[in-house]
Symmetry: C2
Subunit: 710 residues, 2 copies
């Protein structure tokens, strides 16, 4: 009994130490994300009180007005103030005056003017924009400026002139691998608008599902979707929702590969005889549209015609990726066709196919976008190349005069930290492109491939990391301080949840389900230091189908865990304080103690829930890692050196703990290694400057790390 | 710097001690809620593995099949197992065999057979039901039976014969005061099905909004809803969603009072000249339909005819509550009408109005339901009286031969604990009704009035407390052990979040918004011991309009906080252990220490966020309460008696802390008082038996409490 109670006590220990952002920042630090092109803070502040009034001058329409009241409602939510709901008629008196010059494009479109200026003084915030979309971007900035202190809420006096660096700033959501209900799409559109993204790329078809209603070819979706598809009415509602937020909707119909789901209802489209079943696995599959048969183009003409009417955007994405051409190689009729037409290889056959699509879509007033592979000398210059291969391939396309959008480096499904994505630039500083060539690079897109996400977890894979990409695509190239980005990201992340996003809140739901209990503290501790394996290793380690429940430990784990990041920062602070090693010591000790004690507490939970079995070895190792860290800390504090044996045993532990299991891995290994090496290298501290010593220890600790995160 | 860091350390202390349910329960305790009518556990278990198969025998249709696969998916989510998705053809081999005798009613209807039997052995679970709805109820039971241990997942061997005690088991959601989007409605229907509720009562009109599209009278919703209404397509989709789960949808059009929103577009309906505006306040308002004019009935005939077609249920709820008749008193034409017709008072005039509605609806094949006030000798016996006045009024109606549904005692918006609702019985043990009379009492409905709920907070006001009401209405009257209900409620609450409910997860979102920071530990501690003020005191203390943001401390607070409940149980355990006072001592000390230390930690947060200003006095007092509790604990431990002055000062603190502020109050006052009185009365312990002493202390501590929670 007593033992159980003690276990219970340990069980509720809190283990999420976060660094105090305020201690690192100057007197006033803004929380704008993305950072505006030009930004100058002044002295003074505009108080936000119950009496706040809004006025509109110049052009106004329903979209602008709706957005203003939505912004007011969000402001109310963050202040508890109930604000007036009618416009102030005297513009000079308004707390917020919005001057909009015109409607802008009827439908959000590529290259629309999104600029705005915002001048905030003690008496008024003046938001000016040439278009409604520009005004919307400015409203988001206005909302992000809100601060508060003991005197109340305020917007600091500031002068902002802002416009995006890139015209194409997208988020792709793959709704094919796992269907995502409308509320998922809507809340992600809200989040996109909050960080000024402007293209929603909707990956609607793939081997695992054909997710769009076609009135002309109903078998496509009725047989290819398990009943999980978007009706045309629903799609129109999403387009309207996106338009309201100044976001384009670019649909993707992935061809000629990734087409299994098409062939379920229409086996005659494929390059080998059917029947076909909806694909349940993740990977690259054989079924490929037959580019040699006129009936295929007839159906595509009908389908794309229907889709061209449904989707108002100028661009339609036709996929084009990962066609390995296996069905083509094995089909004598296709081989004969190639011979007859003088088509020398599959890449050229795909170019033939793409060209036909380009013509079909041109007749419908649309331009074509496709993945890297569509690029071929035969193709016209008005296609957009969507690069999953890298900035290099993008630059090459630009040199040839093709427009391009970068996604390589923005694959958020690969579980890399925000910092990594953040530093990927569509036009890197070292780019040799001429200005004219560079202009072909339209921007970038974060890609949320959905092999391993459910509606419950998808937000946690997209946010907040995608906000870092949004900043890369909007803000000047020189805005690239990773620490400062993270500081602002923490605030934005909270604001995204206000909009309905679930990336933080659903973690607790997953943990409670795993534990079958409201008591999840030790599990929270464990989850706070692990992350899903990167790249496509989850599928390799833990192969599951698209029907698998996504409720495991790895689904609760998140990329780029805050606690691990703060732990690293605190350890750096400790080592920088050599040879005293006082800085952050208590916080580190607390955190490491939590980790050391996680095992007995987790044992209680594991006994109650079979879902936690796979966390057992992880919890035990976290316990060992915590103990090792505490030992290192105590060597550093006391100034005594550990034995060589100690170092070796601890390094062996690290090697053991670094192996991924249950499709997760520890995110704290390099920092623990750093502490252990610091303790082991302490005797060298006299021989080097403290700074030199610290740099060396850090380098040693990270030696193998770069390989892992590449 | 050091101080700030220490504050930070305190800041992350964990302060949610929960009692260990397992320590109070026998070797095997089920988690069924509601408890079945007959339940007998056997030895053995059906293992739930990847090889689990399902077979269906007898009648089957799409609804049954959909529900089975949904149940399988939920089972997968709770086990991480990927289960086969085709039926087993050999019934004898199936792990779960479902034998359904027939479809049941096409549309869920009053009195439909919802019974089922479930026999689980080592080799098979056999679910038998006369109707599809019965099978659905059984599937929910099957899912709730899932347990796990180190050997894996299993369903314990059991024999269940189950049917509901009452035919009408409802949840009313008021979508008029605050419009609730479709996803709120849908997820609440999911939750209802999980606890076997079968009537969704949709309060669609009120002074603050007319929320349903009428094709015949579009001004009703277009002018009366701020654009927040349900289209008829949406309503049909909700009805289909509910039908799929065996839930009836009873719409309410509240008349003749509560009708301001009707009069905005149709001022001619009201009993006084317009114009009218949508009401923004909470309360009872004058605008009332004019029962003396034929044009009013013409519109109602048209509208109700349209609604009768839209809603397939046999019943339509016409409201009828809280008509104070002020407009009638002041309208000479109405007064003349009454005189001419010999109608002696407003109640009779309303009966005249109701009777006209009864006739209109009878022509459309519908029966009428209305609140208490509609009861009048002139009305036919086939109306259903919806009692907000109490079991007494219900019994009286039953004696007169009127059917009735109880909601008094089930007003979940009043913020009472689940235990209070749980013990309210539509036919209490002491009822003097004959069996025949009792049969008129159809059941009950939890009512979620929405003056103070947003889509973000509504689930936290409904769940999990409504599950306790669901058990009252389904299970035998003798199932009434409050502690056991809470034990099972904790598990059900987790399962409801799996379905998408947000009652737990959204609390953290509200706290982070309040703190403007991810660091919310001290705020979590505070929120865990407070609850919103009860009854309608929020509106009195903190009057706001329907447009107010619902993002304050009180919105994050929840009725019946778990920590306060566990604290009370632990304190009881401590006192029961007199004179040793060992039992639970360490846990209590930990919890009280957390409370004592909440103040400096909260101070840091408050300095950063103006939204936390109103929590300042509460945090300070919690700190004092914690200190007082620790002092009491230490007197008890050491066996020394405090001075009279100590007692008096502490009692004065309690009186001070008991006052509600910021529309919240402490839920821990009686328990702290109990500890203080125990310390103060320790010297009496020798004079009485320990049990007697404990009872007396408890009684003293609760003296004023009953008044408060009544």
């Amino acid at each position: 009994m007593r033992i159980q109670l003690l276990a219970l006590l340990i069980l509720i220990l809190p283990c999420a130490l976060t660094t105090d952002a305020q201690q690192h920042q100057p007197l006033f630090s803004h929380h704008l994300l993305p950072v505006p092109a030009k930004l100058e803070f002044r002295t003074g502040r505009l108080a936000i009180k119950r009496s706040l009034t809004v006025a509109v001058k110049g052009y106004q329409d329903e979209r602008l007005v709706n957005n203003i009241w939505r912004a007011v409602k969000r402001l109310e939510g963050r202040t508890e103030l109930e604000l007036p709901r009618i416009f102030e008629s005297d513009a000079a008196k308004a707390s917020l005056l919005i001057e909009c010059q015109g409607a802008g494009a009827t439908i959000p479109s590529l290259g629309e003017d999104e600029s705005y200026t915002l001048e905030v003084s003690d008496t008024q915030a003046l938001l000016r924009a040439p278009t409604v979309v520009g005004a919307l971007r400015g409203l988001e900035t206005f909302l992000q400026l809100l601060e508060s202190d003991r005197e109340g809420y305020f917007i600091p006096a500031v002068s902002i002139q802002d416009q995006p660096r890139f015209r194409w700033r997208g988020l792709m959501i793959d709704a094919a691998r796992h269907y995502q209900p409308l509320e998922v799409i809507r809340r992600n559109l809200d989040a996109m608008a909050a960080v000024k993204l402007n293209v929603f790329h909707w990956h609607l078809t793939d081997d695992q599902g054909f997710r769009v209603e076609s009135k002309k070819y109903p078998k496509l979706y009725s047989m290819g979707s398990d009943g999980l598809y978007y009706t045309q009415d629903e799609i129109r509602s999403v387009i309207a929702y996106a338009r309201e937020r100044g976001i384009r909707v670019v649909p993707e119909f992935d061809m000629p590969g990734h087409a299994t789901s098409w062939a379920v209802g229409h086996p005659e489209l494929a390059s080998a005889p059917g029947p076909y079943k909806i694909e349940r696995q993740a990977g690259i599959f054989d079924p490929t549209l037959d580019p040699t048969r006129e009936e295929v183009y007839q159906l595509l003409d009908g389908l794309l015609g229907e889709m061209a009417e449904l989707f108002p955007d100028e661009y339609i994405h036709i996929g084009g990726d990962e066609n390995e051409g296996k069905q083509w190689d094995r089909n004598p009729q296709i081989q004969a066709f190639m011979k007859k037409q003088g088509i020398k290889d599959n890449h050229s056959l795909q170019a033939y196919f793409t060209l036909r699509l380009v013509r079909i879509l041109k007749n419908r007033g649309k331009k074509v976008m496709g993945w890297d592979e569509i690029l071929h000398p035969d193709l016209p210059k008005d296609i957009v190349v969507h690069s999953w291969r890298g900035p290099q391939s993008l630059a090459e396309a630009a040199k040839k005069g093709y427009s391009g959008v970068l996604s390589n480096g923005y694959y958020i499904d690969l579980m890399y930290p925000a910092s990594k994505h953040y530093l990927v630039d569509p036009i890197p500083a070292e780019s040799t492109l001429t200005e004219q060539q560079a202009a072909f690079i339209l921007g970038g897109e974060a890609t949320m491939w959905s092999e391993y996400v459910s509606p419950e977890t998808i937000d946690s894979r997209i946010w907040p990391r995608t906000a870092a990409i949004a900043e890369r695509l909007w803000s000047p190239r020189t805005v690239n301080d990773v620490d400062d980005m993270y500081r602002r990201l923490d605030r934005v992340s909270i604001q995204l949840e206000e909009l309905g996003l679930t990336h933080e809140r659903n973690t607790a739901v997953l943990l409670r389900r795993l534990a079958r209990s409201p008591e999840v503290e030790p599990l929270k501790t464990l989850i706070s230091v692990i992350e899903p394996v990167k790249q496509y290793n989850r599928g390799k380690m833990h192969p599951t189908t698209m029907l698998a429940p996504l409720t495991s430990l790895v689904d609760a784990a998140r990329a780029d865990p805050v606690v691990a990041r703060n732990f690293a920062a605190m350890a750096d602070g400790l080592l920088a304080d050599a040879p005293r090693f006082q800085n952050n010591r208590e916080e580190l000790r607390h955190l490491l103690t939590c980790w050391r004690d996680v095992w007995p507490a987790m044992e209680v939970l594991i006994a109650r829930s079979a879902m936690l079995r796979e966390s057992e070895p992880l919890a035990k190792e976290l316990s060992e890692l915590g103990a090792a860290g505490l030992e290192a800390l105590s060597y550093l504090s006391s100034g005594t050196s550990p034995t060589k044996e100690w170092r070796e045993a601890r390094m062996a532990l690290l090697a053991r703990a670094a192996r991924p299991r249950a499709a997760v891995e520890f995110a704290i290994i390099p920092t623990i290694r750093q502490l252990i090496l610091a303790a082991a290298e302490m005797s060298q501290l006299k021989a080097e400057s403290a700074q030199e010593w610290q740099r060396r220890v850090k380098m040693m600790a990270r030696e193998n790390e770069d390989k892992r995160t590449k």
